[in-house]
Amino acid sequence: MSHERYEMVVGLEVHVQLKTRTKAFCGCSTDFGAPPNVNTCPVCLALPGALPVLNEHAVQLATRAALGLGCKIDPVSIFARKNYFYPDLPKGYQISQFDQPLATGGSLVIGKREKGGDIQVGITRLHMEEDAGKSIHDRYPGATAIDLNRAGVPLIEIVSEPDIRSAAGAGSYLRTLKQILQYLDVSDVSMEEGSLRVDANISVRPHGQSKLGTKTEVKNMNSFSGVEKALESEFERQCAVLDAGGRVEQQTLLWDGTREAVRPSRTKEGSHDYRYFPEPDLRPLMLDGKWIDHARGDLPELPEATRKRLVEDFGLAVVEVEQLTTTPALAEYFEAVARASGDGKGAYNWVMGEVMAALRGSDEDIGRFKVRPADLAQLLSLVRDATISHTAAKRVFALMVETGKQAAQVAAEEGLLQVGDEAAIATWVNEVLEEHPEEAKRYLSGEKKLQGVLVGFVMKKSKGRADPKRVNQLLSARGG
């Protein structure tokens, strides 16, 4: 098998749309899903005489992303024009950054090695640029339609070092990157909506060789698993080429998700000469040290730190906090419940159990979930001080999701408050013993294992309100 002889070498270029209200160089809205060409103006339509003006919010978000990825911000960066003709590129050039990008030299930890130690992927650079519009080829027969709503939306391009050695590693890198960008709140990072796009550079070389092989660029993947599949497929293809004594040709390939194979792109690599030069319509971007320090100070807590803290504060296991920190909203929700209830383990069980199940059912976002953390914490407290039973609590929760009411109110209305009253429980116990004479006889004559069954009958009779502890005590006393 070829892949045993060869090592995969991958570097990823990730384009991320920044979450600004307006475009990078004009005041047009960045809303996704507006009717075609509605969010346009003289600047993003490239009408004669229009000029770009840099959106400061885009600079703030790009800087935050760069700092969050451990990059060094260059106090002076230069916008450059990347020249090429395409109908969805109105100016005939894209405003980007070339030889003086906003930031360089970051890294991401994407996992642990078997023998310990972090698996790190270097980040070569992070630069700002603008998005192009969309060409729609399949809408009108024989014609291409152009939608320029997206033209000029701010992007950052994050270029990794060729440090990734497997398709799974690429997946880990992307998931880690996505998670960090979510925590930084700089982008919607949705591959479906196109706010995160991935191009992969891949080459192979025999194990132990330090020289890099000839790379190909694979584009057009629309999910992280698509990226992984595309890399596996291209790896196999390159290995087969080498095994057959051939040479890998440098080219751009498109991933076909339905056929699960790559095919050559129509544009030949190397035929592009982008003729970069400094954008004369924009001054160099100067960021002073204080401003950068301030941005650094304003960074939110990143997932790694959150995980560490949750382990320390709530005594949770590493796998548990990994689940809880998938998204910042989930971690935030969990932490609010855990703090308000003072019960980390209980909060974990409820959030990962009932809450996630309810969310899966409703497709709702946890940030807007009807049961707020304080409400769930109250429910947890009711369980802990035995006001309601665990069984009843699940019903209460379901009703809270349904009605939006508070836990105590629901429990009272539904008559689910736990009964600790000795006399009431004794009555239920007596009734159960009478209604089940066979079991009663066997139990009273010493068949202890029947106690559980009897407790169950009592709980059922009391509709879950009886305090199981007291029921057990009473039965034990009788069982003598």
Binding site: P42, L47, G49, N83, P90, G92, R275, F277, P280, D281
Partner: protein, 518 residues
């Protein structure tokens, strides 16, 4: 006074008559259109005006009159007819850059400079002819035919703002907007015997100026007199948030430079009333041996080569003599890197142009020629049909110098030399020179069709292009005539020191008097 006579007045005098209700803006419009018709400004004769709409201009005039009637501050240009170069976006009239590729294109937005003119009471009466996309020095590269020089119709009007210079010289308007990339306002102003000013890079917003070479482009003003040019620039200058390269440096009232004194403090309340037209500029004293007292004028040897036409040299010497007689000190100076300016310019300007003109692709607006053989064929057919020879030449040149493998040798090196050229100017001004005086052009206007070699044509910009590369302000003022053709003298000052430039220009104009046109 008849309305025709009003059109011979300076812009400031016209505006004060309009504000005083002595003349109706509508009559000024009619007079302007009559003058254009009389002189033959249309396509078959002098070919100065590409687009005009008398009815729309009359409506504009009515609005101005309403503002006068309502006793509002109409502005320093109340009722002044102004012509606009065809590469500056204006509402109403087309903006075609004298190119076939933009035939019929009407901009849905307006250049900041034009908006400021209108806000100060000016009325836009015409879009003027030019070299296509401002590429040329004779207006012969217009897709709509060359402009003829009103002084001598056999000759070119200069370029690329030939139509704007000719419009002012012909008396159609006292003020016109032009644009500069390498001398395109000063050179035609010199050829037509009027005043042309290119401000400091960043002084006037480029928003709405169709880009040729963004790092060099500036909107400039043609005026019948120094005062017209000063007034026009005063109105359009200043920061604009729509142009990131525009400057926040305060704009002095340039007309006060006529008084021969240093600029008053910014925002001085007495002078601010002058800015909005409530008070007039005090009458300047007649020229005297004190007019330019303390002013050091540099005479750079590189701009007076042995090969310089003796007619031009003599007129420059007369102007320098006049400076001396008004108390200025003339100092021989050197700007040693200036002789490199033409090659540097013809690398940088085409490089930027090749990118700036990429948007004319037949996709969204303007000409589209589609042979039905796919996208690339559409691009090629559209751009081949839409662009003229000189524009095509510069796009090819610019594409070449930016190409992989050539970038360092051409573009990067040219940028480095550009910095050196600017350094020359900085060190001269730092050494105590207040203004530099040179000829504007190496020759007066030449006959239409006389220059066919592009490089020979490029040499027309030899004395003007350095100010664009260095970003400093410069003005061309008439200094006399040779073989009955006008000759211009150029005054260059330090960045954002337009005030001193105007001070020296006012003095030269006053000092020469009628000789400026003899």
């Amino acid at each position: 006074m008849s309305v025709e006579n009003y059109t011979q007045l300076g812009a400031a005098a016209i505006a004060s008559s309009v504000r005083a209700g002595q003349v109706l803006p509508a009559d000024l419009i009619r007079a302007s259109f009559k003058r254009a018709a009389d002189i033959g400004a249309g396509p078959d004769e002098l070919n100065i005006v590409l687009y005009a709409d008398e009815k729309a201009s009359l409506e504009e005039a009515e609005e101005i009159q309403n503002r006068v009637n309502s006793a509002a501050d109409v502005g320093v240009l109340a009722g002044v007819p102004v012509a606009i170069k065809d590469n500056i976006a204006s509402l109403g009239l087309p903006t075609t850059c004298a190119s076939k590729i933009l035939k019929g294109y009407v901009s849905p937005f307006e250049a900041t400079a034009v908006t400021r003119l209108r806000a100060n009471g000016a009325m836009i009466v015409a879009k003027t002819n030019m070299d296509e996309f401002a590429m040329g020095s004779s207006t012969e590269n217009s897709a709509y035919g060359p402009t003829r020089n009103p002084v001598d119709v056999r000759c070119v009007a200069g370029g690329s703002s030939g139509g704007s210079a000719a419009a002012v010289a012909a008396g159609i308007t006292p003020i016109a907007l032009g644009s500069e990339t390498g001398g395109s306002v000063r050179q035609p102003a010199a050829f037509c015997g009027v005043v042309g000013v290119k401000p400091t890079y960043g002084r006037v917003s480029r928003y709405g100026l169709v880009a040729f070479a963004s790092s060099l482009d500036q909107i400039g003003v043609v005026g019948r007199s120094v005062d017209d040019a000063a007034l026009g620039l005063e109105v359009i200058a200043g920061f604009d948030k729509m142009d990131s390269t525009s400057s926040e440096v305060d704009v002095p009232i340039y007309r006060l430079a006529a008084l021969g004194k240093p600029a008053p403090e910014a925002h001085d309340p007495d002078t601010e009333a002058i800015r909005i037209g409530r008070s007039p500029v005090p009458l300047p004293p007649p020229p005297s041996p004190h007019t330019l007292e303390g002013v050091v004028i540099g005479k750079p040897r590189e701009y007076f080569p042995d090969s310089l036409d003796t007619g031009i040299r003599d007129l420059c010497e007369r102007a320098l003599e006049r400076f001396r007689s008004m108390g200025a000190t003339i100092r021989d100076i050197s700007l040693p890197r200036s002789p490199l300016a033409i090659p540097v310019y013809y690398i940088l300007a085409p490089a930027e142009a090749s990118s700036n003109l990429a948007r004319f692709d037949g996709v969204r607006y303007g000409l589209r020629v589609d042979p039905g053989k796919g996208l690339k064929a559409m691009y090629e057919a559209t751009r081949s049909a839409g662009f003229g020879r000189e524009v095509t030449r510069r796009i090819l040149l610019g594409t070449y110098v930016l190409s992989a493998g050539y970038y360092d040798a051409y573009y990067k090196k040219a940028q480095a030399v550009r910095t050196l050229i600017a350094d020359d100017f900085r060190s001269v001004f730092a050494a105590g020179v207040n203004a530099i005086f040179t000829p504007t052009t190496p020759t007066p206007a030449f006959p239409i069709g006389a220059i066919s070699d592009p490089y020979e044509m490029y040499l027309n910009d030899i004395f003007t292009v350095t100010a664009n590369l260095a970003g400093v302000p410069a003005i061309s003022v008439p200094i006399g005539r040779m073989r009955r053709l006008p000759v211009g003298g150029q005054i260059i000052t330090a960045h954002f020191d337009e005030y001193t430039m105007f001070r020296v220009a006012y003095a030269l104009e006053a000092g020469l008097g009628r000789e400026a046109h003899q």
